[in-house]
Amino acid sequence: MAFSFVGILAVVLEFFRGWFWLLIPLIVLDLVLLGLFFKRTSGRRRKFSLPFKASIGFGVFTFVMALITLPGITRSSWEMLAGAVDYLSLIGASVGFGVLFAILAFPVMLHMLGIGPKHKPESQATRQSPAPETETGAEAEPSTASQQPQG
């Protein structure tokens, strides 16, 4: 019995229906956090590289945890896995969890690590000595003194 793509999508929807109470607030929270981030950082530099790396790290951690615990969580055990299908499915599911958690964590990471310094007015920028360049070009926090009006 072949399952169409739409059929598989319908089953996936039905599967997550029981988790909507958790997933929908989480997604809404993430969207709100994203919106807030853009609002908070208007007029500031936004740092994406570090939050992105941190989210990837979180995703990788989730992937490893899923790899170790999924057989047990499904009331099975590692000994029950047999053949490529089982191992590839386990890896696939773990990657899925890793990606999901990385995406969910990204807005939080943006707030924790992604808010850079205020943009400097043109006139100040020309008078200041340039900040040392970092990997992303925007991640070095200028000293408090350099943010003060130079008057």
Binding site: S4, V11, T74, R75, M80, S89
Partner: protein
Amino acid sequence: MNHKDKQIQSAVQRALGDKGLSRRDFLRLSGGGALLAGAATSGLLYPGTARAVSTNARIVIVGAGAAGLSCATRLNRELEGAQITLIDRREDHYYQPGLTLVATGVWNTAKTLDSNRRYVPSGVNWIHDMVAEYDPDNNRVITDDGRTVEYDYLMVTTGLQVNYDQVEGMSEELIGQRGVGCVYDKPELAERTWRAVDEFVDNGGVGLFTRPRGDIKCAGAPLKVTMLTESRMKERGTRDKAEMHYLPPGASLFSQPDADDFLSKNFPERGIQIHWDHPLTAIDPDAKTATFDTPLGDETLDYDFIHVVPPMSAPDSLRESELAAQEAPFKGWLEVDRHTLQHNRYANVFGAGDINGVPIGKTAASVKSQVPVAVENMIQAIQGRENSASYDGYTSCPLITELGKAILVEFDYDLKMKPSFPVISPYEEHWVPWVMKDRLLLAAYRAMLRGRI
């Protein structure tokens, strides 16, 4: 627009500019995203034809189980103007494929309980009553309450009945007491069965696992209960305390030959003795003995735990009606053509699910395959056309061999394996089919009730 809004707008425009997108592009893309999201959550997810056939036909569906609800959803969607009536007194909906897991303590009962109301589409008239009499010559059914319901087309989806009284000494009340279990066919009975299984797993003794003559729903269920009980004992370290016997009514364990071969070797390997040709005829719950009708005469065995699977048949009202097949091999079941699922004598009558007199396929997996065929052919009949859809006998059984692994057996009328996912071998035990059974099939079942697969 206040100052902050202006700041946000310019920030968004800056961000879009960085990516080489105009505001117009952004709106177009987000509109597309919204459309996709809408499609994913709305009726666009319905597969098949998007047509709506206009008709004023009166359609009666008898039985609001897996097949009945699924038919109601599809017919309601595909017909415009039809008067669709669903008849069933039962309010609760049971996810029966989960009962083997309840009876072996893997799931709690709540997971298998649902409500029919959630799946009956608006626009379908639901009569909370049971059909007591079929009168196909006059195109009508009569309910328990004496109500007459007339139809132009009839869909029979009553499932089957479990005949406890055909095993002498057996009754529904016994289940869960004095070492008697029976996984069929309500969550409450499966839960009580777990009590008896649990005690046997702890204390050991002699365990008898039976199967009756004739067609039963999910022929894999008695095997799964046996294997899961054994697996539970290994888990608790009590396997040595128990002697386990499986007693089929004939000379095979399963209709599909490859699965039968596997089980015939696997059972003895795990210390489950097979006693061929042993249909159960009676139990004595006080003496804890069971009697079997063997080719050498009656044989009585002692037990500490017995899993009784009573004989099954079409519900009495159907079995005694003109709609039932009058001759073997499907005597008493709804007499339909095995491919078109149309009644052989009454062209306006169709059937889906366990009630059909077809060679194999008393499973929810078969319901998934049968319903689109029966619905499609009924719609063709309404339009005065020839039947166009055909059922190939597809059925499936995730044969749980141990807690944590299973074999996904899928086959058709020719008893040939028909794997939905060719990468999953139907000849070997795997973790993936176990996860499917434990986590995914309930979602697939619900999608089926909603007519989406």
